[in-house]
């Protein structure tokens, strides 16, 4: 019981460490995430209509009908069926599921990441910023085709603009996710998916991969900076003249399996406007970036040789 004692000692200490502000999903920073949170409240609230009474029954019945109270309570050992109760037992869940299913379909149609009607309704005239995203083993590559800019592990976007992402991956499936901002959508090799979102106010967020892709997966995070339109232009300007990047350079360096432990951003000038499409076609033609067992073992292992390209 010493363990339980320790729990009692540590409990207040550790409770103090938890803060409601850690639970970032309750603090959306854009309409897509806000819609997700809205439906979370709505659906959970409706579920409470059935969960709370059932929970109370499951606690109250065993107490009320405990054998020690047998002289006080009714006992009907042969009462095994009631049409009224069965109609309610099927009917109430059926009704709630009907409402929830309608809400779910309605909700998902609103935030469909391919072309969310929600954004068209809220911000029909928002400027559109297109970014192409490539998940490599194990970094995030962001291509700004209009700005002819490529960044690694940093996504800087104008606040108030509608961000249209196209996603793919070089070899393995990764999940693209920015809590508070963008719905989770997978980036898949040889295929293209889409994600669309809008950040209402300037702010800094962290995005990361949610779908396991190998040894370096835990370090696949990227900084998200939502800035004003003027600041975005200035940011683009400040990275003019960065090293050029075409498919050959991407293939030879960026796409090779490597871990960016500190998620340190780097910048390139896009010299090949078809880079994103070329990555997809290459994967379709069977291009892979084999990860050797030696590399798998070396990731985050101090005893092993350093990982190629690690910073």
């Amino acid at each position: 019981m010493r363990v339980l004692g320790l729990v009692a000692l540590l409990a207040p200490l550790m409770l103090a460490g938890c803060s409601v502000h850690d639970m970032v999903l309750f603090f959306p920073a854009g309409p897509m995430a806000a819609s997700e949170l809205h439906y979370t409240y709505l659906i959970t609230g409706i579920m409470m209509v059935i969960i709370v009474p059932t929970l109370l029954m499951s606690i109250w019945f065993p107490i009320k009908y405990h054998i020690s109270r047998q002289h006080k309570e009714k006992y009907t050992p042969d009462w095994t069926f009631s049409y009224a109760i069965e109609v309610l037992a099927w009917g109430i869940p059926l009704g709630i599921v009907a409402v929830l299913a309608w809400l779910s379909v309605h909700g998902i149609r609103g935030i469909d990441p391919w072309n969310p009607p929600l954004l068209a309704k809220i911000a029909p005239n928002a400027p559109v910023e297109e970014v192409d995203v490539i998940a490599t083993d194990w970094q995030w590559v962001f291509i700004y085709p209009a700005e002819k800019l490529v960044t690694i592990d940093e996504l800087t976007i104008p606040a108030g603009a509608r961000i249209d992402l196209k996603l793919t991956a070089t070899q393995n499936m990764d999940g693209f996710y920015i809590p508070q901002v963008a719905p989770m959508v997978d980036a898949m090799p040889a295929m293209q998916t889409k994600d669309t979102f809008l950040v209402s106010q300037p702010g800094d967020f962290t995005g990361f991969s949610t779908d396991f892709s190998g040894a370096g997966f835990s370090w696949m995070r990227f900084a998200v900076h939502a800035v004003s339109t003027a600041d975005f232009a200035a940011w683009v300007q400040s990275h003019q003249g960065a090293a050029p990047l075409d498919y050959a350079a991407f293939d030879a360096h960026i796409a090779q399996p490597q871990v960016n432990y500190g998620a340190t951003p780097s910048y390139f000038t896009l010299t090949d406007p078809k880079l994103f499409g070329e990555v997809i076609s290459a994967a379709q033609m069977g291009k892979t970036y084999p990860v050797s067992q030696a590399l798998n073992k070396a990731v985050a292992d101090d005893d092993a040789a350093p990982v190629a390209g690690a910073q």
Partner: protein, 686 residues
């Protein structure tokens, strides 16, 4: 013919080299020493007490459904412990490796496990807990209880039953040996695709995973065939379909799922195997391959598999709740309908496992609504259990405690499940630890029901009860541990923590991780009390009498306790759904007065030998030792051939011998050694 493989290959040993043995790993070596010592002690004890012959004849060669069931459950409990050890290591790693300044031990940059090891551990945790702990536990329960509940002598195919067990055993042995020879898969228990292909996974880990699941799932398919045939064809006279107990009903639905779903997994894994061994491109990203095909196939099996596991748990609750409420089950016909609804709808929801993989809103809407519909029959079941308690006389024996907490856990799991089935919410928590906490709630329902069942039916099989005091300590520590692990995990999910992290970059998650670590350590206490409960009860062995709980209802309690190896001395005629309590009420005879000869099948060592051969076959395939693959394949065919010409039709126990057993029931118990019996059928048998 073979694809290019990384590392050396020799004709004699295949890919196996001395480097495959992690003799310098500071975690595996002590584990191996402890496991080897435990093994030596066990073997030494068997030899010292000269029990080798007994174990061979009475257990390894047994085709008795009860012994097979007990061996399934022992396998499940051992693997449950292994799965827990993995869980403890996962939690400890995440409790240490938080933030860039977190310390590193044993060579790891953060925490004490580099990703290469950590990824194998959580992959093993999932594979073991679902395929090699939960499945054998529930299959074992079905094996023990179904023939007793329907008044049968044994399963329809006793020899096939033993084959199922030893195939499952072979799969589990492959997972266990991967700890000491080579490595396990790092591609999670689902086999992420294309990550499980050679490009990202050139080692033997995925091969171990693939063959272990492949072998054991063939065993599960066989077992499903057996259960269906048994329930359909072997019910005692008078047992019409609507006198079939609910536990047997859910075993039937489960077996239908097993028979129809597991072959899909077999096909998917075979295609993956062809990719990995012959270099085809079924599931690669390029060259015309389509990894989405694998993901669909896997979850077309994987989601029915979830109901394959949870339905037997619901069946247990439908037996335990009435027993300890001293009241018949409420709403029996709708319980049966609900079981079939769950099993049926379970086929139409698989795509909710990949809502985020670019599906259009209409497909997502369909699968979202279909998933929610599962909530209806599940809700019906919860209401029926609650109305079974209503106006009953409830006592809190340990099986009832487990049953009551199962209902509460089912409500929490159901609430979060409904949240996740709404894809609009799922977009924010798919692949987060919120999902992990949700499905752990559901598998805790399964675990809690399995504990309820083991404790409830234990005296039926062994003739003595488990210690109630220690059982209650086990219960409360287990529940405390579960709360401490999974409440913070739900919260961490809402804080945006994703699954499968070797290193947690978000330092704000530190308190949650510490809470979970405390919880997982509290589980250690519950394991201590569980083992203490077993040891103390085995030591004391207080005879339980013919009615251990005083509240038994079903047909299975009509046999003597402990149940003799031939089950019912005379096949009973069934008059009611709850036959035992019906006979007590109307004053009908509980025991036969006149005995008849009994026909039983002979034991056979072939299923055990086949299991060992299949284990060697899986090992040879994993390490690509060609000559051993050929040899073990030939041996497999030879064993099936030998069995086909076995004309042994079992043996007869004469009526007077049955009478002698019934007079002194301990001589027929599961522990008692039986005399060698001659071949051939003599006289008339029943």
């Amino acid at each position: 013919m073979q694809v290019a493989i990384e590392g050396p290959w020799s004709p004699l040993f295949g890919r196996l080299t001395l480097d495959a043995i992690p003799y310098n790993n500071p975690i595996i070596v002590p584990t191996f020493i402890v496991a080897a010592l435990a093994g030596l002690v066990a073997v030494g004890a068997v030899l010292y007490y000269k029990k080798l012959g007994y174990i061979w004849r009475e257990w390894l060669c047994s085709v008795d459904h009860k012994k097979i069931g007990v061996m399934y459950i022992i396998l499940g409990l051992v693997m449950l412990f292994r799965g827990y050890a993995d869980g403890l290591m996962i939690r400890t790693q995440q409790a240490i490796a938080i933030g860039p300044n977190s310390p590193g031990f044993l060579g790891a940059k953060h925490g004490y496990l580099p990703p290469f090891h950590f990824d194998q551990i959580y992959s093993a945790h999932g594979t073991i807990m679902l395929i090699f702990a939960a499945t054998p536990l529930l299959t074992g329960l079905g094996n023990v209880i179904v023939p007793l509940q329907i008044g049968a002598r044994d399963m329809a195919f006793p020899y096939l039953n033993a084959t199922s067990l030893w195939l499952t055993f072979a799969g589990a042995a492959l997972v266990m040996i991967s700890l000491f020879v080579g490595e396990f898969s790092s591609a999670t228990w689902v086999g992420l695709m294309p990550y499980s292909e050679m490009a990202s996974n050139p080692g033997v880990g995925v091969d171990y995973w693939m063959w272990a699941i492949q072998i054991s799932s063939i065993g599960t398919t066989f077992n499903s065939i057996n259960i269906i045939a048994t329930i359909v064809k072997m019910r005692a006279p008078g047992m019409t379909w609507f006198k079939l107990p609910v536990f047997s009903w859910v075993q039937l639905t489960t077996a239908i799922i097993g028979l129809t779903a597991f072959p899909i997994l077999t096909v998917a894994l075979t295609m993956l195997g062809i990719d990995r061994y012959l270099g085809t491109h079924f599931f690669t990203a390029g060259m015309g391959g389509n990894f989405m095909l694998y993901i669909n196939l896997f979850w077309i099996w994987g989601h029915p598999e979830v109901y394959f596991l949870v339905l037997p748990a619901f069946g247990v609750l439908s037996e335990v709740v009435p027993a300890f409420s001293r009241k018949a089950l409420f709403g029996y016909p709708t319980m049966v309908a609900a079981s079939f609804s769950i099993a049926g709808i379970g086929w139409m929801v698989w795509a909710h496992h990949f809502f985020t993989m670019g599906m259009g809103p209409n497909q997502i809407g369909f699968f979202s609504a279909a998933t929610m519909i599962v909530g209806i029959p599940t809700g019906v079941k919860a209401f029926n259990w609650l109305f079974t308690m209503y106006r009953g006389r409830i006592s809190y024996e340990t099986p009832m405690l487990w049953a009551m907490i199962s209902i509460v856990l089912l409500l929490i799991g159901g609430l979060t499940g409904m949240m996740l089935s709404a894809s609009v919410i799922d977009y924010s928590v798919h692949d987060s630890v919120f999902v992990v906490a949700h499905f752990h709630c559901m598998v805790l329902v399964i675990g809690a029901s399995a504990f309820a069942a083991v404790i409830f039916w234990w005296p039926k099989v062994f003739g003595f009860k488990l210690n109630e005091t220690l059982g209650k300590w086990f219960f409360w520590t287990f529940i405390a541990g579960s709360l401490l692990v999974f409440v913070p995990m739900f919260m961490a999910g809402l804080a945006g923590e994703t699954r499968r992290l070797d290193y947690v970059f978000n330092t704000a998650l530190a308190p949650y991780m510490l809470w979970e670590e405390v919880g997982v350590l509290v589980y250690l206490a519950s394991i201590f009390f569980f083992v203490a409960m077993l040891v103390v009860s085995l030591w004391q062995r207080v005879p339980a009498g013919e009615s251990p709980w005083g509240t038994e209802r079903g047909l299975e309690w009509l046999t003597r306790t402990p149940v003799p190896f031939y089950n019912f001395a005379v096949t009973p005629h069934v008059n009611a759904l709850d036959e035992t309590s019906w006979r007590r009420e109307v004053g009908a005879a509980l025991r036969p007065t006149r005995y008849v000869p009994i026909h039983l099948p002979h034991g056979s060592g072939l299923p055990f030998i086949l299991g060992m051969d299949v284990f060697a076959w899986g090992f040879a395939l994993t390490w690509r030792i060609d000559w051993l693959i050929v040899l073990t394949t030939i041996a497999m065919i030879a064993i099936v051939f030998i069995r086909s010409f076995d004309r042994n039709e079992g043996f007869i126990i004469p009526a007077e011998e049955v009478e002698a057993y019934e007079a002194n029931i301990s001589t027929a118990s599961i522990f008692a050694e039986q005399p060698k019996r001659g071949h051939g059928l003599v006289g008339e048998a029943h």
